[in-house]
């Protein structure tokens, strides 16, 4: 964080890289899953549900970014975005199967 880059250990740099990837890729996964979940579950006409899901997805993306850099370790960052994504993916799978059997 300080500009004395020479004093920064490699471990720290790798952790920051890992957190960035968690935010970028994991966050995108979470945002996508959340948007699909809203789309499939919202009691609205299809096109409105799609719009609402997409519009709200960015809230999740921003929250994922914040989580990935606020949590205590890079492992927790990954854990915190992948676990809810998996839960949402299961809900999505179930909802999709019920709507389009």
């Amino acid at each position: 964080m300080k500009s004395k880059t020479a004093g920064v250990p490699l471990r720290y740099r790798l952790a920051v890289t890992s957190r960035s990837l968690a935010a970028l890729l994991g966050g995108y996964l979470l945002a996508s899953m959340a948007s699909v979940c809203i789309t499939l579950l919202a009691p609205m006409p299809k096109v409105d549900a799609v719009l609402s899901g997409m519009m709200l997805s960015f809230v999740f993306y921003v929250l994922a970014f914040i989580w990935c850099f606020a949590c205590r370790s890079a492992w927790r960052a990954w854990f915190g975005v992948v676990l809810p994504s998996l839960v949402l993916a299961m809900i999505n799978g179930l909802a999709y199967w019920m709507q389009y059997p």
Binding site: S3, I38, M54, M55, A70
Partner: protein
């Protein structure tokens, strides 16, 4: 990562701001210019004359021109002159021309003759650069949308970082170097915060169908199905292959006016002109409402003139997303509101610029005594200079090229863009060769000269200088010249500061020591 939530957010704010700040600065500056896209285009093509608006007559002219010159085209597009855009624009897709075979012409709104204007992209260039970054499709759109997300993140983390957001808003301590930059950054950021939040979130809404398509994929077989349902479009009928005389477009215009008195029209599309199955689609001008509305559209039978369909009413979700899109584009804004948009855009640009300057300034202080910067700080300094003052020089080069390149030159519009890119690129080696403050000062001084002399250049090369434009009330032209002049004066002031100011470090050290504790504790946020 530091301990504590606010510290972590300050860290995130600082580093995402640094990495994306350079690009965001360019996106914000060109976006701000785009609020005056039509006015910039008017300046870039002074040959196009303004006339009092008469939509029905213009439509008649457009129809006559297209009938004579594009009778066999598969579709026509017409854009009526407006208060901001003097030309009557027509376009058509040549039969069998495919996607590339699109021809555009600007007609004089009174005579219907083609205007022989200099080849220039004008305001359209900066508008496109704002979200395509001169990159191949779709990468520029992806990158600029990602920058918007980072901007939104920067705003949220910036808000979290500032515990005393309300108090900071009223705090400005000028003449105190780093502290003044931080106060300025905070005050502008907070003052224009609603605009900033709106503009960065709405840019995500603009391209969400592209960057977040999972919902569309889960619900529709193809994006086309989604768009057809969203805009309530029906597929165009096939051409019947039977020649039939077309109804007159002004009569259809009258029918639209019966439906919605006073409606201004945006795009008008004629499918299969001269065919039995001709269709005429009218869309309402975006300037007519804040939100982008799908209801403002009418589809007519091109032969009988019968109204076939008018646009679906908006649902809440469509209205919300349309409002965000409309707020971002600001097409509805009348002159005063448009200027407010412009000022807010400049404020956004300034927040990014001050943030970049601060990042470096804070770290420079530690090396003030040695007089030389470590490589990574020097790199940031060079990029700061080239991305800010260098970009301004590039913009100036675009407008100088517009006035100086021969009107008949081949590929003229491309060379305007090349001048922009070349001069911007040249600012980089200049920033590398000169010491920091001198590089700033020299580029700002050159920029000051380039912008302040633009009105003079305009007057000399086109005869439509300020003396003429103010006299005839051409405020788009005069406004451009006056803005260039004002920008030139501002840059001169900034260049003067950079070139004259003594080394500020020695003077500041004792003052900083006397400052109250709470203000000293805070600079760690930047």
């Amino acid at each position: 990562m530091k301990e504590g939530f606010r510290q972590a957010m300050a860290w995130l704010h600082t580093w995402t701001g640094l990495i994306f700040g350079w690009l965001l600065f360019a996106i914000f500056l060109t976006g701000t210019m785009s609020y005056f896209k039509e006015e910039i285009s008017h300046w870039s093509q002074p040959e196009v004359r303004s006339h009092p608006l008469d939509p029905a007559a213009s439509l008649g002219l457009a129809q006559a021109y297209l009938q004579a010159n594009a009778g066999s085209a598969s579709s026509w597009f017409i854009r009526l002159p407006s208060v901001r855009e003097p030309a009557l624009n027509v376009g058509w897709r040549a039969d069998g021309g495919g996607r590339r075979g699109f021809i555009n012409k600007a007609l004089d709104a009174q005579s219907g003759e083609v205007v022989e204007a200099r080849d220039s992209r004008g305001g359209e260039f900066f508008y496109r650069f704002h979200f395509q970054l001169q990159m191949p499709h779709p990468w520029g759109r992806w990158l600029s949308t990602f920058c918007a997300l980072i901007m939104l993140l920067g705003l949220v983390t910036g808000i979290i970082t500032h515990k005393k957001i309300f108090k900071e808003f009223f705090t400005f301590r000028p003449g105190k170097g780093q502290r003044s930059w931080l106060d300025g950054h905070n005050a502008i950021g907070v003052l224009v915060l609603p605009f900033h939040l709106m503009i960065s979130y709405s840019s995500l809404v603009l391209f969400m169908y592209m960057v977040m398509p999972a919902s569309i994929m889960a619900s529709y077989d193809s994006p086309r199905g989604y768009f057809n349902e969203l805009f309530g479009q029906s597929e165009a009928p096939k051409s019947a292959g039977i020649v039939a005389p077309m109804t007159s477009l002004p009569s259809l215009y009258a029918k639209v006016q019966e439906q919605v008195p006073g409606a201004r029209l945006g795009w008008i599309e004629v499918q299969h002109p001269g065919d039995q199955n001709a269709r005429v689609n009218f869309t309402r001008a975006a300037a007519d409402s804040v939100a982008y509305r799908r209801s403002g559209s009418w589809s007519f039978d091109g032969v009988s003139g019968e109204l076939l369909r008018s646009g679906k009413a908006e649902s809440t979700a469509v209205m919300v997303s349309g409002t965000f899109v409309g707020l971002h584009m600001g097409n509805f804004a009348e002159p005063w509101l448009r200027w407010l948009y412009f000022v807010f855009g400049i404020a956004g640009t300034a927040v990014i610029g001050t943030g970049l300057v601060m990042w470096l300034g804070k770290r420079q202080l530690k090396h003030a005594t040695s007089g030389s910067l470590p490589t990574e700080l020097r790199l940031v300094e060079v990029l700061n200079i080239a991305s800010m003052s260098g970009l301004l020089l590039g913009v100036a080069a675009f407008f100088w090229a517009n006035r100086l390149l021969p009107v008949a030159m081949q590929g003229r519009a491309d060379w305007e863009i090349n001048s922009f890119l070349l001069v911007w690129a040249l600012s980089l080696p200049h920033a590398m060769l000169r010491p920091g403050r001198r590089a700033w000062g020299e580029q700002l001084a050159l920029g000051a000269l380039a912008f302040a002399l633009l009105p003079l250049l305009n007057g000399l090369t086109t005869g439509q200088g300020l003396n003429h434009s103010i006299a005839v009330g051409d405020w788009a032209m005069a406004g451009f010249d006056l803005t260039a002049l004002a920008l030139g004066l501002f840059l001169a002031w900034a260049a003067h500061k950079m070139l004259r100011a003594p080394k500020p470090v020695a003077k500041r050290a004792p003052r900083a020591a006397k400052a109250p504790r709470e203000t000293l504790a805070e600079p760690e946020v930047n």
